[in-house]
Symmetry: C2
């Protein structure tokens, strides 16, 4: 895969290894500056994009439109409440066989997948149901 990592790409990978959790581009920018690396925000985005295409970094875009970047990790999924936004980490994942099948069938080189569940948490279910029962307050 597209070898040649630039100095800043290396730095980004290094910082991400220290963080060990999905991080936004803007947060990475701050982290890098804290590590005494002078770098521009645009370079962070450009570097992340290059790393992404080579499968060295994976991306999960939130409903807010913000993207979280992380090192490739298996089976980190979420169950998220559509109302309050709280989410629970899910580490079970039954898609590996399908992934293998897709890879050979479509001749793609699959780097990773995302699996996210959405609904209402117990607390927000109560709020929603209450709102439905008592329409006029």
């Amino acid at each position: 895969m597209g070898e040649r990592r630039t100095r800043n790409q290396e730095r980004i990978l290094k910082v991400m290894k220290g963080l060990m959790q999905p991080t936004s581009a803007q947060d990475l920018y701050i982290q890098l500056r804290n590590h005494e690396y002078t770098i521009g925000l645009a370079t962070v985005y450009r570097s992340l994009d290059a790393l992404k295409v080579d499968g060295l970094v994976q991306v999960r875009t939130l409903p807010s439109g913000e993207s979280l970047y992380s090192l490739p990790q298996e089976d980190r999924h979420h169950l998220t409440c559509l109302r309050c936004g709280n989410s629970i980490l899910i580490t079970e994942c039954p898609v590996h066989d399908l992934e293998d099948e897709l890879q050979s069938h479509h001749k793609f080189r699959i780097y990773y997948h995302t699996l996210e569940f959405f609904g209402l948490c117990p607390s927000c279910q109560a709020k929603e149901d209450a709102a439905a029962d008592a329409p006029s307050l």
Copy 2:
């Protein structure tokens, strides 16, 4: 669930039924205007948000940050190329048992899930590999 649909929410659902495919808020805005509905873009967003929380509409946020809205449909997933962005529709899905389990275990009311695969398509694999082999052009 939060009953009371507003006039505009009803119109949005109606137009979405006619479209039968994931659509951006901005496109929906245009469609609604074509249907002779005078509506503001902000109202489209507010209505979609209300419908989302009630599970009547589901959302998929693209890496670009744009959100696509659709009526609840089972098993519409994608295999997307990280380089050229082309994607293939995947209708197989092995997560239903897990979904049931999560629903009862966490007491969530799950409305839907997203499952997306990312990698390189055959064509872009070739381009990437070529770039790696011949670093200096």
